[in-house]
Symmetry: C2
Subunit: 788 residues, 2 copies
C-alpha cells in the first residue's frame, strides 16, 4: 500500500502500474526535476532563461510550464537496463522502457532525494537521485545486487537519452580522458547578435560515472536498432555496445558495465548527468561530485532543504495532513519562493504570493520581493504584469497581456509581511520607479498603486478588467475597454481596507479615511450592481451583460466572486447563507470545489479564452486549488471553519491507492488544479494537473498557520484564535514567531461554554498576547467548547 | 531488387529494412506529404502559413523545413493494424509500429500516388494514398484480401495518430452522424487580436471512412495501454475497441472493422484524413471524396501532375537517368514552382530559381514571379531578402537577416525567361516599388538592381557580404560592414554580362557599355585580389583576412568561388586547369563534389554559422547539390562536358540497394545535400538530407536541356550544341520550344572530324537555327565525332 514513511518525510509507492505519471520532484536554486515512478523525467535549469539538457526527440516548442505533461515512448527519462548474460533476458529500472513486471517495486521520493528499489529474477537494483545545492547536475547512485543463490553474469546499462538538441549542430562522443559521454550542440540562432548572446550557454550535456564503462554507445539510433527502446538491438543476447559516436544524430549517454556477481555480491556506481558550458566545467563537476566527498554533498543538499522547512509543526488527528503540512507543504512554498518558479519574469501576482508564503520561511525574501516589485512600478502607480529578475529578462507569454489586478497583491503581500515580522521599517524603505529617477518610500508606492487602481473604473465606479485579472484566461470580457470585474471590485475593497489599517497605524488619517471611503463605496457598488439573487456576478462585459449569473447556462456561478465577497465584507449573513447553498449546489464535487460551473462547452466571445480550455482541463470548470484556497480564506473569515477545513483537505491527494489512481498524483504537493466539470465529464474529473506551480501552496500554509491554528501577528503582538474542525478533539503545534517559540495545545473540553486561553499557565484576557519576547518559549493552552 | 517500373513513372522497393527513412512524396497546390516506406509521415498544408494536421506527441517547435527528419516511435504515421481474431497475432502495414517481418513487401511511390502491398500469414493488404487536386486531404484506399485457403476472421484497424494538437484545447470524439472521428483543438494564443486572426484556422483533424466501423477509439493512451504502439492493449486477443473519447488527451483516429474473409475474399475501404475548419467542411470533404466519383478525383490529380511533367523527353544509354529526367525531375521542379516550397515568404533567391525551372513547364509562372519580385524592390534598386506572397505574410527565419546577392538571381531568372520564351514584352511590363508610388518597367527594375549591387562595394570595389550571400550561414565574414564576397564578385560580373546582352538587344548602348565595363572591372579585381595560386579565395573577412585559401586549415577551398569564376570568365585556361586539379584533390568524394573542404571542426568567428553546422550536416563540408549544379554549369561553360555529366549524375541516387542503403533515399528527387566531410567522417558520408527543397532541381533540369542536350533559345532562334558524355554513342530527345517541337537525334560517328547538324535533312550552317516556326516539328540530327 502507498504510505508515508520516515515520520512523513518520505513516501512509498510499491506499484508502478497504479498511476504511471505519479511523480516526485527535486530542485535546487538553479534547476528542477520531476520524475515519474517509472523513470520519465521533466527537468529544466536557468541559463539564464529556462532550458533543457535532456530533450524530446523532435524540435521542441518553447512554452511556459504546462499542466498534465504527456509521456510517450521516446520521452526523456533515466533508464537502467539489466541484462542477464546467460539467458539474455532484459529488464529496465525504474520500469520504462522495457516495462517488465518486477518481482517487487518501491519508489520512495523524499524531501531531498528520490529512491527506487526494484527486484527481478534474483537481482536487486537500488537507485538514488540527488541534486547538488548550487550546481546544475543530477547525481545518481545505483547499486546492483545479486540476491539469489548463484553467481550472476549481468550487464548493467545506464541509458540517458539526450534527445534532439539542435537543428544547427548536435552530436556526441565518448571522451576517454574525462571518462564521459559528451553531447555537443549549438543553440540555433539566425541573427549574428544572438551568436554573442548564446556564447555563454551550457550547450553540452554529459554523462559520467565513477568508473570507466566496459563498453559504450552514443547514438540513440544505433542503440535501438530494429528492437526499439523496449528491446534494443544493441543489447540483444551476446552483444556488447559498439562504441560509436553520434554525428548530427540524436545522442544519448549509454554505458555498459559487465558484472560478475557472486551470490550476495553487489556493485555500486555513481553517475552525474547534466549540462555544461565546456569540457573544463564537465571536469570540474566530475571532480566535485564523483571524486569528491559524497557525504558532504548530501549534507549540503539536506541542509538546503531543511532551510526551507519552515518553523511550524503540527500534530492533529489526521496523520497524512500532518505529514503534508510539516514537510511537503513548506517544501512546496520554499520551491516557489526560492526559485521564482524557474522564470526570469514571474507574473507579478505569482511573485508576490510566492513571497507571501516565504514570510514563514525566510521573511527577508518577502521583503526583497516587495521592494523589487515596487521599484518596477510606474510613477502612475500602476503595477506591471511581470517582474524582471535580471537586467536581460523580458516579459513573455501572458505577461505581455494587460491585466488589472496586480496592485491588490502588492498590498496583500506587504500586509502579510507586516503581520508576521512587524518590520515596519519596510514602509520607509525607498524604491525607484520604472519610468522616473525619483525614489519614494514603499508606503507611497503601495498607496499610489491603490490610487491608480481606484482610478481605473467605469462610470459605475467598478474596476475595468482589460484583458484579464486574476483569472487570466477571461480575456474578452473587457478588451474593448468597458467590461468590469466583480471579483476585482471585491479584491480592491479588501486591499483598501487592509491598507487603511496600515495607514492608520502610521497615523496617516487622511489616506486611511480615503481608503475606508473607497472600500465602503466599492462594497455598495458591488451590492448595487453585482448581487444576482443568490450569489454575486463575476462581472459585466463590454456590452453591459452580467455574467456568472443565474441566467447563464454555462459559467453560471464563479467561486472567486463569492469568496472575496466574504473577505471584503460585502455579503451580509443572509447573503452568505445563500452563497454557501449555491456553492454547495453548483460547485461542490467529490474532488473539491470547482472554480465555476457549469463548464463552458463552446466559445463565448464576450468572456474569452477561458471558454476554450477544454472541459476538465486547466481553468474551465476545474477544481482550481488557488481559487479553493481563497474560498477557504473566506470561510475562515466568516468563521465557517468546518467547511474551510474540508475545502483545504480536498486539495490533498489521500495516500490511498484509489485516490492516487484517480488523481494520478502522489500526496507530495498541491497541483494547480484537479480536473473538474464532474457532472459533464465524470471520467476525467479528479485528475491532477501534476503541475506544482501554484499560488495555492502559500495560501494553504498561511491558512493552516494563521486560521486553522489561528496564531497570527498584529502590530501589538499575536492573536491566538484557532479554528480547528469540530471533530478534532485535540491539536498541537509549535511555531517560531518573531524570534519566540509558541508551543500550543488546543483541546476540546466537554462542558466548556467559552474559549479559554492560558499562556504559560496564566489565563489570557481576550485572544491577543501583547509584547512577544524574542528568545522566549511560550506554552499556550487553548480550551475550546465541544461543538453542537 | 529496387527498380523503376511502369516506364520509369513508378519505383519499387521490396525491403522495408533497407533504408527505413526512404520516402516518397506527394503534393498538391495546398499541401505536401512525405511518407517513409514504413509508414511514418511528414505533412503540412497552408492555412495560410504552413501548419500540421497530424502532430508529434509533444509541443512542437515551429521551424523551416529541416533536413534529415528524425523518426521515433510516436512520430506521426499512418498505420493499419491487422489482427487474426483466432490466433490473436498482430501485424501492421506498411511496417510500423509492429515491425513484424512481412512475407512480402512492396512500396511503390508513383508520380501521383503511393502504393504498398504487404503480405503476411495468408493475408494481403494493399494501400494507396492519393491527394485531391485542390483540397487538403489524404485519400486512402485499403484492400484486405485472404490469399490463403481457409476462411479468416480478422480485425482491420486503421490507426491515424493525431498527436499533441494544442495546450489550449484538444480532444476528440466519434461523430456518428458524420461517421468520422473528429479531433478538435484551438490554436494557442495569448493576445485577444490573435483570437480573431486564428478564427478561420482549420483546427479540426478528422478521419472518416466509406463505412461505419464496428468499433472505434479516440484516445491514443486508451488504445496503447501498457502494450505500447507495438502491441496495443486495446488490440489484445479477444478485445474490441472500447469506443471512448479524448478529453484534453492526445487524440487519434482509430477504426476497427471485423471481417470474415472466405478464401480469395477481399474487402475494400476508402478513408479520408485531414484538417477542416468545422463539421460542415468535414461533411463536404466526405461527400466529395468518399461518396463522390473516385475515378474523377484520380483523373483530376493525374491531370494536375501531368501538367507539371514539362515538355522534354530524353532517351540515353542511362535508363535510370532517363527515368529521373523524364518524370521525377520535372515533377520536383513543378513542386517548387507551383507551391513555392509551401511558404508565404520564399527567400528571393529560391523564389527566382524555382521560377527559372518553370520556364520549361509553365513560363507564365516565371513571368509572374519576376514581376512580383520587381514590385517588392526598393526604389534604391535593392532586392529584398524574401518575397511576400500574401498581404498578411511576414518575413521569417533567415529572411530577417541581411543578404546581398538577390539582384544576381533577378537577372539570371529574367534572362532564362527571355532565352526560353523570347517574350520581350516582359521588359516593358511595369511594376511598382515597395517604397514608392511610381511604377517603372521591368527593364528599369533589373538595371537598377544591378546599379544598387555595383554600389555596395568596399574600397577595392569588391561586393560587401553583410550577414551572408548565397551561402546563408557564412554570417560573420562581413557583419561589421567590411568583409567582401569573392563569389558575389563573380556572380555580379556574370549577371552584369548577361544583362549587358539584353541591354544591347534593346539598343541601350549606354547601359550595356556601363555593365560591360563593370563586369570587366570586377573580373580584374577578382584576379587581382582573390586568386590564391591554385584557386580563388571565397572572400575577405571584416579584418581583411582572405579565407577559402591554401593557408586555411579548414574551409581551405570553396567550390562556388571556382564554378562562378568559370561562368564569369575570370579564369584563363591555365587557371581553369589548376582549379580543376584542386577541386579533384580537395573536394571530390565518392558521393559527389563537396561544397568546401576540409569541413570545419570548430567555430571560426570571422566566418560564422557555417562552421557550427556539424561536419556532414547541411552545408559544412557537405556535397551540397545546388553548389554542385553550378559547378556543372561552370564545367559546361568551359566545355568540360564529361566532368559536368559526372557531377550531375552523382546527385542521383542509383536505383541499387547499396546506394539506397548508404544514402537512405529513393531515386525520386535530388535532396539539398548528401553528407560530405568524407575524409573526416566516412561513416556518415553520402547520407541524404531527405529534403527535396532545393534550387538544384531547376538548374539540373536547365543544364540537361540547354547544355547536355544543348538546345537553348536566343533572341534570333535556337542554338543546337549538345555536350553529351564521350562514352555515349547516342542520345535522343524531344523538346517543345516556343510552340515548335524538336526531335533531336545525337549520335557519335566514327571517323567524323567536325560536328554536323541537319535540320529536316538540311545541313545547318553553324549551330543556330534562326526563326523557329510555331506548330512545326523539326527533325534534327546531330553527328558528333568520337572523342579521343
Amino acid at each position: 500500500m502507498p504510505e508515508f514513511i520516515d515520520n512523513g518525510t518520505r513516501f512509498r509507492l510499491t506499484d508502478p502500474m497504479l498511476a504511471p505519471a505519479a511523480a516526485g520532484y527535486l530542485w535546487n536554486r538553479r534547476m528542477m526535476i520531476q520524475m515519474t515512478c517509472r523513470g520519465y523525467a521533466v527537468s529544466q535549469y536557468m541559463d539564464p532563461e529556462p532550458r533543457k539538457y535532456a530533450h524530446v526527440p523532435t524540435i521542441a516548442g518553447q512554452s511556459f510550464m504546462q499542466p498534465e505533461h504527456r509521456y510517450f515512448a521516446h520521452h526523456p527519462g533515466r533508464f537502467f537496463y539489466v541484462r542477464d548474460n546467460r539467458s539474455g533476458s532484459l529488464f529496465s529500472v525504474p520500469h520504462e522502457p522495457v516495462r517488465a513486471r518486477p518481482d517487487s517495486f518501491v519508489f520512495e521520493p523524499g524531501l531531498s532525494d528520490m529512491r527506487w528499489t526494484v527486484e527481478k529474477d534474483g537481482l536487486r537494483v537500488e537507485l538514488c537521485l540527488e541534486l547538488p545545492e548550487d550546481d546544475v547536475a543530477e547525481i545518481w547512485t545505483a547499486t546492483v545486487s545479486n540476491i539469489g543463490e548463484s553467481t550472476r553474469d549481468v550487464s548493467f546499462v545506464p541509458y540517458f537519452p539526450v534527445g534532439y538538441m539542435s537543428w544547427m549542430n548536435m552530436g556526441g562522443h565518448f571522451d576517454a580522458e574525462l571518462g564521459a559521454v559528451i553531447c555537443t550542440s549549438v543553440t540555433p540562432y539566425q541573427a549574428v547578435e544572438d551568436y554573442f548572446r548564446n556564447r555563454h550557454l551550457k550547450d553540452i550535456t554529459f554523462l559520467a560515472a565513477d568508473r570507466l564503462p566496459d563498453h559504450f554507445e552514443v547514438s540513440q539510433q544505433a542503440f535501438e536498432g530494429e528492437g526499439g527502446l523496449a528491446d534494443p538491438s544493441a543489447l540483444q543476447a551476446g552483444k556488447n555496445l559498439a562504441g560509436g559516436d553520434a554525428a548530427y544524430e540524436i545522442p544519448a549517454g549509454i554505458l555498459q558495465y559487465n558484472l560478475l556477481l557472486p551470490a550476495g555480491g553487489c556493485e555500486r556506481f555513481r553517475l552525474i548527468f547534466g549540462p555544461a558550458h565546456d569540457k573544463s566545467e564537465v571536469a570540474m563537476l566530475i571532480g566535485k561530485y564523483l571524486r569528491g566527498d559524497a557525504d558532504a554533498v548530501q549534507k549540503a543538499t539536506r541542509a538546503y532543504m531543511a532551510e526551507g522547512l519552515g518553523s511550524f509543526e503540527i500534530e492533529t488527528p489526521d496523520a497524512a495532513f500532518d505529514a503534508f503540512v510539516n514537510h511537503w507543504l513548506p517544501r512546496q512554498v520554499f520551491y516557489h519562493g526560492d526559485t521564482n518558479r524557474l522564470t526570469t519574469d514571474p507574473q507579478t501576482r505569482n511573485y508576490l504570493q510566492d513571497a507571501l508564503g516565504m514570510v514563514f520561511i525566510r521573511p527577508d525574501t518577502t521583503r526583497e520581493v516587495i521592494l523589487r516589485t515596487a521599484s518596477q512600478q510606474s510613477v502612475s502607480g500602476k503595477v506591471p504584469d511581470g517582474i524582471l529578475l535580471r537586467p536581460d529578462a523580458t516579459l513573455k507569454y501572458i505577461n505581455q497581456i494587460p491585466h488589472t489586478d496586480h496592485a491588490v497583491w502588492l498590498v496583500i503581500a506587504t500586509c502579510a509581511y507586516l503581520d508576521e515580522t512587524n518590520d515596519r521599517s519596510i514602509l520607509a524603505a525607498s524604491a525607484g520607479w520604472s519610468d522616473s529617477d525619483v525614489k519614494d518610500s514603499l508606503y507611497d508606492h503601495v498607496t499610489r498603486a491603490l490610487s491608480f487602481l481606484a482610478g481605473e473604473v467605469d462610470e459605475r465606479g467598478l474596476p475595468l478588467i482589460a484583458q484579464g485579472d486574476w483569472n487570466d484566461p477571461m480575456n474578452m470580457v473587457g478588451y474593448k475597454g468597458k467590461g468590469v470585474s466583480g471579483w476585482l471590485a471585491e479584491a480592491s475593497s479588501y486591499a483598501m481596507s487592509l491598507w487603511a489599517e496600515v495607514c492608520e497605524a502610521e497615523a496617516d488619517r487622511e489616506t486611511a479615511g480615503w481608503l475606508r471611503g473607497e472600500a465602503g463605496a466599492l462594497v455598495e457598488r458591488i451590492n448595487a450592481h453585482l448581487w444576482d439573487g443568490d450569489w454575486y456576478a463575476r462581472g459585466i462585459t463590454d456590452d453591459g451583460k452580467h455574467f456568472g449569473v443565474s441566467a447563464d447556462e454555462e459559467g453560471r456561478i464563479y467561486l472567486n466572486a463569492q469568496s472575496w465577497a466574504m473577505l471584503c465584507g460585502a455579503a451580509d449573513e443572509d447573503r452568505q447563507a445563500r452563497m454557501l447553498r449555491a456553492i454547495d449546489e453548483h460547485l461542490e464535487t467529490p474532488y473539491g470545489v470547482a472554480m465555476f460551473a457549469p463548464a463552458y462547452t463552446r466559445m463565448r466571445e464576450d468572456v474569452g479564452r477561458l471558454t476554450q480550455k477544454w472541459p476538465g482541463s486547466a481553468e474551465n470548470g476545474a477544481v482550481y486549488n488557488h481559487a479553493a484556497a481563497f474560498y477557504a480564506a473566506g470561510l475562515y473569515h466568516i468563521k465557517e471553519s468546518d467547511r474551510a477545513y474540508r475545502v483545504l483537505r480536498a486539495m490533498l491527494t489521500e495516500p490511498k491507492a484509489e485516490d492516487i489512481a484517480v488523481r494520478g498524483q502522489l500526496p507530495l504537493y498541491i497541483p494547480n488544479y484537479y480536473r473538474g466539470a464532474w457532472r459533464q465529464y465524470p471520467r476525467t474529473a479528479g485528475r491532477s494537473s501534476n503541475l506544482f506551480n501554484t499560488g495555492t501552496a502559500s495560501w494553504f500554509y498561511r491558512l493552516v498557520i494563521e486560521q486553522l491554528c489561528g496564531l497570527r501577528g498584529t502590530r501589538d503582538g499575536v492573536v491566538i484564535a484557532p479554528q480547528i474542525p469540530s471533530d478534532w478533539d485535540r491539536c498541537r503545534f509549535r511555531r517560531t514567531f518573531r524570534g519566540a517559540i509558541f508551543e500550543v495545545d488546543v483541546e476540546r473540553v466537554c462542558g466548556l461554554t467559552d474559549r479559554e486561553i492560558d499562556v504559560d499557565r496564566e489565563l489570557l484576557d481576550g485572544d491577543v498576547l501583547r509584547r512577544v519576547e524574542r528568545g522566549r518559549t511560550y506554552q499556550v493552552r487553548v480550551r475550546l467548547p465541544e461543538r453542537a
